[in-house]
């Protein structure tokens, strides 16, 4: 590989920040005891306090109280717990109808599918050309049988940020619980649960330079949810298992390290990439909303060429990006998100996602745009499409 890696796939996961690792290390090597009750031994009490402190820090960013944050193994587990936990708690009592959207990430989509197989009815809302859920369709879809609405805060691929406050208000008025997958917005797009009517929120550490293997589910006080993992009484008796204290400490440290200044800087990288690509490379389409989008996400379709060819060429030049092309995916299926915003296979085929993180610079943006411009020109020369 030539020189250093320019990593632009920060939505997939991020590089750990050394300061996070530094905060975690003592909880592997020194304070490694299990969290005990306040009547336990001192090492256990110390561990317990570290866990409580981490919980307070993370909950605080959401405007939640510490008892409303459940640590999980990551956002996949959090979303599974939200959908299946509520379904278990309310399926018999209230109804068996769940509402979600076509562009959800797989943990929500496939949890909903799994519930469908168990006899739940699932309504999957459409989105418009920019990826926004139709609020009127949502209103109409809610019935007396509806127990949960699960709509993401922002999209993993095209970056569109939903008007979650308006969605929360609708759910409140109709008396229905709202879950939102905030894996990609947490700390980057502020959300305060005291202001937004969301009852369950999925968050993760690994998208903000924290460790993988730890995530969280915010559960508003009083929300009916079944115990998710049987075993001991950990996590307020909702999710059993030995607490991941180094992970929780790392998660909290990662949260503290995100600043509004940093988010503004990432947004400048995003805007630079979008502006340069759209103005300098012909036949390109921005996927997702231009402004109502994640500060760290750009997603562009380069027409007449195929995404895996672009990513391979970029890889040879030291850039890591991802694509919605079927050829790139493990399942050989084109991006369900691009298809849902009305794109065809061709639009998904040539789509490339660039996602930024703490360690990216403006030079990275300029060099990847230069590289992409060359690669797309090269691939278009051999493409039968786009020639008159």
């Amino acid at each position: 590989m030539l020189g250093k890696l320019v990593y632009l796939d920060n939505a997939a996961t991020t590089r750990l920040d050394e300061r996070v690792l530094e905060a975690m290390t003592p909880y592997f090597l020194e304070t490694y005891a299990v969290a005990t009750s306040e009547f336990g031994y001192s090492a256990g009490i110390e561990a317990r306090e570290a866990l409580q402190e981490a919980r307070s820090t993370i909950a605080g960013v959401l405007g939640a109280s510490p008892e409303e944050l459940i640590f999980t193994s990551g956002s996949t587990e959090s979303s599974n717990m939200a959908l299946k936990g509520v379904a278990m708690a309310l399926g018999e009592k209230k109804g068996r109808h769940i509402i979600t959207s076509r562009i959800e990430d797989f943990p929500v989509l496939n949890s909903a599918r799994a519930l469908e197989k168990q006899g739940f009815r699932v309504t999957t809302l459409d989105v418009d050309a920019e990826g926004l859920v139709d609020l009127n369709q949502l209103k109409d879809a809610i019935t007396g049988e509806t127990i949960l609405v699960s709509i993401q805060h922002a999209n993993q691929e095209i970056g569109t940020v939903q008007d979650i406050a308006a969605i929360g208000q609708i759910c409140r008025e109709k008396g229905v619980l709202l879950h939102s997958d905030a894996t990609h917005t947490f700390t980057r797009v502020p959300l305060d649960v005291r202001e937004v009517g969301v009852d369950l929120l999925t968050i993760a550490a690994h998208t903000i330079h924290g460790p993988r293997g730890i995530g969280g589910l915010y559960v508003r006080k009083g929300t009916p949810i079944a115990k998710w993992m049987d075993g001991g009484f950990q996590e307020f008796n909702l999710r059993a298992g030995l607490e991941n204290i180094p992970g929780a400490v790392g998660f909290a440290r990662a949260v503290q390290l995100v600043t509004p200044e940093e988010t503004t800087r990432l947004q400048a990288l995003r805007d630079r990439l979008i502006d340069r690509v759209l103005s300098e490379i012909p036949h390109t389409t921005l996927n997702g909303h231009r402004w109502q989008r994640l500060p760290q996400n750009a997603n562009v379709t380069f027409h007449f060429v195929e995404g895996e060819s672009i990513t391979l060429h970029l890889d040879m030049r030291g850039f890591a990006v991802s694509t919605g092309s079927a050829c790139f995916s493990r399942s050989l299926e084109a991006s369900h998100v691009i298809l849902a915003i009305g794109g065809d296979h061709e639009r998904a085929h040539g789509s490339v996602r660039f996602t930024f993180g703490r360690f990216n610079t403006m030079e990275d943006v300029d060099s990847v745009v230069d590289a992409v411009a060359e690669i797309v020109t090269l691939l278009r020369q051999i493409s039968p499409l786009g020639k008159e």
Partner: protein, 212 residues
Amino acid sequence: MTMLPYSELVMEHFRHPRNVGRIEDADAKSVEGSPACGDMVAVYLKVDPEELRITDIKFESYGCASNIATGSIITELAKGKTLEEARQITWKQASEALGGLPPIKTHCSVLAVDGLRAAIQNYEERHGLVKERVPTTVEEVRRRLKHVMNPVVGLDLVRTKLVKDIEVAEGTVRVVLDLPADHQFANAIREDIREKIEPLWDVNELIVEFTE
């Protein structure tokens, strides 16, 4: 260097594809695949009419690395061969010449082989070399539908079980798809089927029906 799923040879052909481009005064050409549905390959031939030998061949690709590499190798294998010899080139030979292709990429790479065969057939049709005209059968229609992609998943219609029924009777081909007529890709799929079925010599009418 990290392990890529592709062999050195595939990467070499991907980076520097041979015989790329168009032949403006081609004696025959073919286009396999379609943009709405995924990969696409165009093949152009120059043929010596005396010896029926391929004197020049070029290709264009809208596809992934294995598609581009197979297009490249297939032109190298076919150049200088007679039409009869070139027709015998298989996907397996192309794959072996490239040092192996990932099995999951069969679909993308088989398209180039289909493209070469279709170009040869195009030459024969244009030059009155088609010896006997075989009547179209349900099997032939099904074979051709295997080259029409289901854009929802990027795999062919037959494999994704979208083809519910095929009837062939007195010049009319009827294809029933397990897809609602108002599906976002219904028209694109119908057009692709038309492209594959209508050129058959004994087909006068094509009816594509959708289920509700």
